[in-house]
Symmetry: C2
């Protein structure tokens, strides 16, 4: 990261009150960037009104599907495009709304950006989701795309529209395909953002949590490392080998959900318990089994590397939520 | 093909007045199927009011985006899903409309089919388009997907939604990824459906035509072979190794556009001329270079093989248009 690069820089963050977006906003404001955040503040998503407390950024409440975007995008130098419908079950239940947010609204935003900020660089928050059930591990960027659900289709389409802005028009664009991310400002009220959210809540409430399956492998990204990846990608977005690329982002070494549950309890000074149940039958068709990312391409292209171990990240997360728990229930 | 299988079968064809859709309708009606065709009759697309002359099918004029689909889909046993926005330049100019037709309206149709025809099998007309500029030739189904334009993104998304109907719900679905198709009922007024359309028109009007580039390879599919492929796919859509699959469809051996131009003139008894010009600069970003399909997977899975040589197909096309030219200008 190049902190002085951000001083006074005008930055637009969609999904800015969400988990990843708000952490980015805090980091950007701390480096002196002038940040406009847009968020639909959907009850079903990752937004939380407290996520931007103390950040010192301008938050506009609005949905990408119908907000007047020109004035928000006008003159921005960097767009962090974090807004999305990310619920897999939500995408299956209401695929029209899902594609409306994740693809059609992206086309709207692209058109506004062409007019209002033609020079801005863009870092797009993408997902491992559309790789589907991996045919080999770890998963690199050449892995076939086999979306297991409607949400994977729409997220892939939205990403591809952004990549065309680089390929066809030459705008600096980078897309980061994320794995499970965790840390402060994650939605923990339920499992809608990630299973780890509800685990953290239960542990802090001294209640047992449920592990579905348990043998599946995941690599978790601590949010500060994700933030650093987005900032790094933006700084280098116009470099050959970065511009127009998609990169997988990984994190800690892969761990089974069962072992992760034990590490979470250990990070809570040994306090906590969990039970194991079978993966629910109604979700089995969209279960992807084990996943971990091969993120060598991004590390090599930009020099980024995750700096937070899993145990450290879990401790930091628990400590933060102990202080802020009531704001996130 | 299994002609008796089609007798009295209720078939729904979207895009039924278009080039491929109408040829399918003629074949289906000829085998005794009861066919409902839906078509938006867009001026910019492949539909032609004369395409269904004499076919004996019911044509409903309507757009997939807003037509009441339940009554049309009700009780159908086979859906041939041919409706699409296929213009690459159109997709770049109006990507919202493009994704509306090719993806959002597909989700609408899927929902209607779930309610009105849950048992029907589906053959979806897909495209080589989203493979983008091939990284190797011939192109098989594992080739990476790299859409060169917005139309490629939306067509891929629409296909994937249909494949999920097989993967998640078990509906028999087959997607055929087409290359350049030609033959009777192709739009020849201009180059909006394929470059070969306007070539045929010019040759029959004794005017020179233009070849853009010339060295690019293409494999052309004669429409009767494409029709046979769709019928075969439908008949076998519930078979293991066919259900839920995407298949590339090829045709005649690959030929350069320059050689194709000469073969077209030869098929016109040597009458005709063409000039060569560079690929226009404004279309260069979406030019895909050479393409030819590896369609072994479909041949092996179903026994289908193209039966019409390029020279024969060109002769048949010219003969048909000599009789029907004024209806297609």
């Amino acid at each position: 990261m190049n902190k002085p690069w951000w001083k006074n820089r005008r930055v637009f963050v969609t999904g800015g009150a969400g988990f990843l977006g708000s952490n980015l906003c805090h980091a950007l404001a701390g480096m002196g960037a002038r940040v406009t955040a847009l968020d639909a503040m959907s009850e079903e998503g990752g937004a939380n009104p407290r996520n931007l407390d103390g950040a010192g950024v301008m938050l506009v409440r609005g949905d990408l599907r119908d907000t007047e975007l020109h004035s928000l995008a006008k003159g921005c130098e960097v767009l962090f495009n974090m807004a999305a419908q990310t619920s897999h079950m939500g995408g299956q239940k209401d695929p029209v709304s899902d594609i409306g947010i994740n693809a059609v609204a992206q086309v709207r935003l692209i058109q506004a950006m062409r007019e209002a900020a033609p020079e801005a660089r863009v870092v797009h928050a993408s997902t491992r989701q559309f790789y589907g059930r991996p045919v080999s591990l770890p998963v690199n960027e050449l892995h076939p795309v086999n979306p297991p659900d409607a949400n994977g289709v729409s997220k892939w389409a939205g990403e591809q529209y952004w990549l065309l802005e680089s390929r066809v028009l030459g705008r600096p664009v980078v897309s980061l395909r994320l794995t499970n991310c965790y840390g402060p400002r994650l939605r923990i009220r339920d499992a809608k953002q990630t299973f780890l959210g509800i685990w953290i809540r239960r542990v802090l409430e001294a209640e047992p949590f449920e592990v579905w399956g348990g043998a599946q492998l995941r690599d978790l990204s601590y949010v500060d490392d994700v933030t650093a990846a987005f900032l790094t990608a933006a700084e280098q977005a116009d470099a050959p080998g970065v511009n127009g690329q998609v990169f997988n982002l990984g994190g800690s070494p892969p761990i089974s959900l069962h072992d992760l549950a034990e590490r979470l309890i250990a990070a809570n000074d040994g306090q906590g318990s969990f039970s194991t149940r079978e993966f629910p039958a109604d979700r089995a068709p969209i279960d992807i089994g084990s996943y971990h990312a091969d993120d060598h391409a991004f590390r090599k292209a930009t020099g980024w590397a995750p700096a937070t171990s899993l145990d450290e990240g879990l401790r930091l997360s628990l400590a933060w939520y102990r202080e802020h728990l009531t704001d996130y229930l």
